[in-house]
């Protein structure tokens, strides 16, 4: 296993990566093609990341991967077949553990004409399937995982990265978008089987282009319900949003006012659906 290194310019953070795990290097090169650079061309990345095949005897019988951000190892090692998922979650950790200039929400963000909608949702709500659908149907992906909000504004900064699809969504996405750039499956993680999908080139290319949040939609995939829409009470939207904020505690009052103003200034909905085209048409005709 050769040591490979490269850097990725995922605005607003640049990472330099070193790994001795071949399939991880290949996957990153494929998923991040649009923003990939040689490591030699990046002298001052925000963070240096290393993904290593661990241990001396470990390598022989139960190989594991270890994630490092410089000297820091935030997670326990994982079996080597989950190394790519570990890398992706690791990058999320790096950003949420160090970044306080933005209020960070656990939410998908998609935009059309720089008008953005936040989709904060717990795992299992179909958020990433919705993200995949929209960004392949005329919308721009800003993020599948985290919304970087400028404090006291409705301005959201993209952090474009591969979309993380789980379990049943994997075959669905492969069926819809057979030409998509999919990674190998990381089997049996704590979220089930996961796969990563590189978003379309348009999303990558607009990765430095901010957008304004106009609505917050809490999606809930529900089999048998075509598309039901409920207007969501502001207080409820606010409390759900704070529960999805990564660094709300660190930002204190600034975090509070940012989220309060955001909820005040946006339309807020809850949707139950099993038809994505119908949901898309509602978003385009009634929300934006």
């Amino acid at each position: 296993m050769a040591l490979k290194s490269f850097s990725i310019d995922t605005h607003p953070f640049k990472f330099r990566i070193r790994t001795d795990i071949d399939f991880v290097a290949d996957s990153i090169e494929s998923l991040y093609t649009d923003v990939l650079k040689s490591a030699m061309d990046e002298a001052l990345p925000h963070y240096d990341i290393e993904l290593k095949n661990s241990g001396f005897i470990r390598k022989l019988f139960k190989p594991q991967s270890q994630f490092f951000c410089d000297q820091r190892e935030p997670f326990l090692p994982m079996p080597i077949d989950k190394a790519l998922a570990m890398f992706e979650w690791g990058l999320n950790w790096v950003v949420s553990a160090h970044e306080y200039r933005h209020v960070i929400l656990h939410s998908a963000v998609l935009a059309k004409d720089d008008k953005a909608i936040l989709f904060p949702a717990p795992p299992g709500s179909g958020k990433s399937t919705l993200t995949t659908w929209l960004c392949h149907n005329g919308w721009r992906l800003l993020s599948d995982e985290m919304a970087l909000m400028t404090p006291n504004s409705r301005e959201v900064t993209p952090f474009v990265r591969p979309i993380c699809l789980k379990n049943n969504a994997i075959s669905l996405a492969r069926e819809w978008f057979p030409s998509g750039r999919f990674s190998k499956v990381s089997p049996n993680t704590h979220k089930g089987d996961v796969i990563h999908l590189s978003p379309p080139a348009e999303s990558w290319h607009a990765r430095a282009q901010q957008a304004e949040v106009v609505a917050i939609v809490f999606p809930q995939y529900t089999k048998g319900i075509f598309c039901d829409i409920y207007k969501l009470d502001k207080a409820e939207a606010f409390s759900t949003l704070t529960a999805n904020a990564f660094n709300y505690g660190v930002l204190g009052e600034l975090g509070f006012t940012t989220l309060a103003n955001l909820v005040e200034g946006c339309k807020t909905f809850e949707v139950k659906y099993d038809n994505l085209a119908e949901l898309q048409s509602f978003l385009e005709n009634d929300v934006l």
Binding site: M40, P45, D48, Y100
Partner: protein, 371 residues
């Protein structure tokens, strides 16, 4: 092809720390290394604070500006949060005892001292009477402060031999509190009559803290009377700041008297010696000329401690760092324990180290525990 990170000498690192204006115009490769060492040594926010006071941040590359701004926000937030957390702690502890003495970083910040500027702390240290420990632990448990999961050997180490109980973590807010009943482990045979320190306290903003000369002595004891020097470099800056802010003649005579009365003069001498040598300031002759070691003894300590107190990030070069750290580690244990106990302790730790080296360092962590 793989990139190569630049190494930085200890002197270059400290010079930049002491004179942030000299960093303007440095190369990207230089910054990349400097920021990593700063973060690792927990000095990023102190550097950010200094640069902010000098209005320098905007002179630096974008990526560096981002790291420094984040560090400033984090340090400010910690200070705000500490005041809140400490008031809750004091409320709980005051129902059991009126002796609740804040130590180290928490004390600097609660008392509003400038040494707290840009200083992060990982836990809140308080000192309470030994016979009240159990009651306090129980009362804090009701407020959501639980013991971190640690292995049996370490649990026993704390309970039998240490000067503190295992750290308690606030389950909702994640804050960590270390409850001490002495400044050094009683098993070392060097634990002072704690009343000597309790007589040297003051109340500021409603919180009890040590007076500055006693703060300095405690910081020195904490630095030297220790087996782990992994992140000790930062403490040299605390010592320098306390001396800079309070270093009057009475401050020094009080510090030296307390140190001699409690048997910690060599710790005071050594910590101030290395802080002043490395960070380039002068000590008064009342301390500097009163050397408690032979010529050889002092040179030996210079070799071990002088190097152990260097930055420990692998990109920071200091000659002989590895062997000196190992010797410092042995020495730290030597001070803390009688020799038979030391042999036992080191063989348990050593065996674990060997097994961890062979099978990966996470072998002793049960599944499902996160770090």
């Amino acid at each position: 092809m793989s990139y190569k990170a630049a190494l930085m000498s200890e002197k270059e690192f400290i010079d930049a720390m002491l004179a942030p204006a000299s960093c303007v115009g440095k190369s990207d490769v230089w910054w990349c290394t400097f920021i990593k060492i700063l973060r690792f040594e927990r000095l990023l926010s102190l550097f950010a604070y200094k640069c902010d006071s000098l209005a320098l941040i905007e002179e630096f590359p974008q990526v560096v500006q981002g790291h420094l701004q984040n560090a400033l926000i984090m340090a400010k937030r910690q200070a705000d949060h500490l005041a809140y957390e400490a008031s809750l702690l004091s409320d709980s502890i005051s129902t059991i005892t009126n002796q609740c003495l804040y130590l180290k970083g928490a004390a600097y910040s609660l008392a509003g001292l400038s040494v707290a500027n840009g200083r992060l702390f990982s836990d809140i240290d308080v000192l309470v009477p030994k016979n009240k420990l159990e009651n306090i632990e129980r009362s804090l448990l009701l407020k959501g402060w639980l013991s971190k999961p640690i292995n049996d050997y370490d649990e026993n180490y704390y309970r039998e031999w240490a000067h503190e109980i295992p750290p308690l973590v606030q389950t909702r807010r994640g804050t960590v509190v270390d409850i001490h009943h002495n400044l050094v482990p009683p098993v070392s045979g060097k634990a002072p009559d704690i009343n000597a320190f309790l007589e040297q306290t003051m109340v500021v903003n409603g919180f009890t803290v040590l007076k500055p000369h006693a703060m300095l002595l405690h910081s020195c004891i904490h630095l030297i009377f220790n087996e782990s020097f992994k992140q000790a470099h930062r403490d040299l800056y605390d010592i320098a700041a306390l001396i800079h802010d309070f270093g009057s003649d009475t401050f020094w005579s009080d510090a030296i008297k307390l140190a001699k009365d409690t048997g910690f003069y060599s710790e005071l001498f050594l910590a101030c010696r290395y802080s002043s040598i490395k960070l380039n300031y002068n000590l008064p002759s009342i301390l500097a000329d009163d050397i408690p070691f032979s010529w050889v003894g002092l040179r030996l300590r210079d070799f071990i401690l002088g190097r152990a107190l260097s930055p420990h990030h692998p990109l920071c070069k200091a000659k002989g760092k590895g062997i000196a750290s190992f010797m410092a580690w042995i020495r730290g244990h030597w001070c803390k324990m009688p020799v038979m106990l030391l042999i036992y302790h080191l063989s348990v730790k050593g065996l674990r180290g060997l097994v961890e080296h062979l099978f990966g360092k996470h072998i002793f962590i049960s599944e499902g525990t996160s770090k």
